[in-house]
Amino acid sequence: MKFGVVVSEGPYTHQASDTAYHFVTAALAAGHEVPRVFFYHDGVNVGTRLSIPPQDERNIQQQWSALAKEHGTDLVICIAAAQRRGLLDKNEAERQGKDADNIAEGFRISGLGQLIEMAIDADRLMTFGD
């Protein structure tokens, strides 16, 4: 079965991105497909490579990046939500005249159409938020 997953809260502040990660891991282990995870609202903040959690805490961004690498899951950050909140990739930073970018490996920034496409394509849509 094919799952689409939406993460709509930021890392550490809400448990949503953790629960989503455990759900996706379990779904993949059970032989299901998770072709894409869509990060919306504060969920976009999961995709920053600049976070430095304490040594005794999980690194949420790295967990997702490793999952994408191992399973080819497409981690999409909503561009409109990302722009408001200061998440940028290199191209967008150049286009907007910003002097830095902060997106992590395995994540890409794209439009809300990717959310709708995911929902059309998936057998089940899961939302993890606040």
Binding site: V6, H41, A80, G111, L112, L115, E117, I120, T127
Partner: protein
């Protein structure tokens, strides 16, 4: 689901302005309208506050997005289910909501109301009839 068309329901349960969910839900609805799916919106609990008339955000310095609801008809988003019990509990009636209409192309472009006031039990039926539920 017929011909690859899915029934999408956008569920709005939060008040506007205190948090961004109402605005960002509307942004999804507008983009989603281009995908030719069967789209409905549900307003229940504090979500009914999104549709009130007379919103004026000048003094809080936040963009007033309530006029956008009136433009939904142009995007062929014409089914806005509003739960009567949620209105009642909040001391609201249908008259407190904006007039939101669309022009029905199958009926000589007659102007028709987009807001459908439904009971809680009817809302549960609407929810149970969907393929995809997006929650905000």
């Amino acid at each position: 689901m017929e011909d690859g068309v899915k029934k999408f329901l956008y569920v709005n349960r939060k008040a506007p302005y205190g948090t961004i969910y109402a605005l960002e839900a509307l942004e999804v609805v507008l983009i989603g309208a281009a995908f030719d799916q069967d789209v409905s919106l549900a307003f229940l609990d504090d979500g009914v506050f999104q549709l009130t008339k007379g919103q004026d955000t000048k003094e809080i310095g936040v963009k007033n997005f309530s006029p956008t609801f009136r433009a939904l008809g142009d995007y062929e988003v014409t089914k806005l289910y509003v739960e009567k019990e949620s209105l009642d509990e909040r001391g609201l009636t249908a008259d407190d909501l904006q007039d939101i209409t669309y022009e029905d192309e199958d009926d000589d472009w007659a102007e028709k109301p987009s807001i459908l006031i439904v009971s809680r039990s009817e809302m549960a039926d609407v929810m149970a009839g969907q393929d995809v539920i997006l929650s905000f």
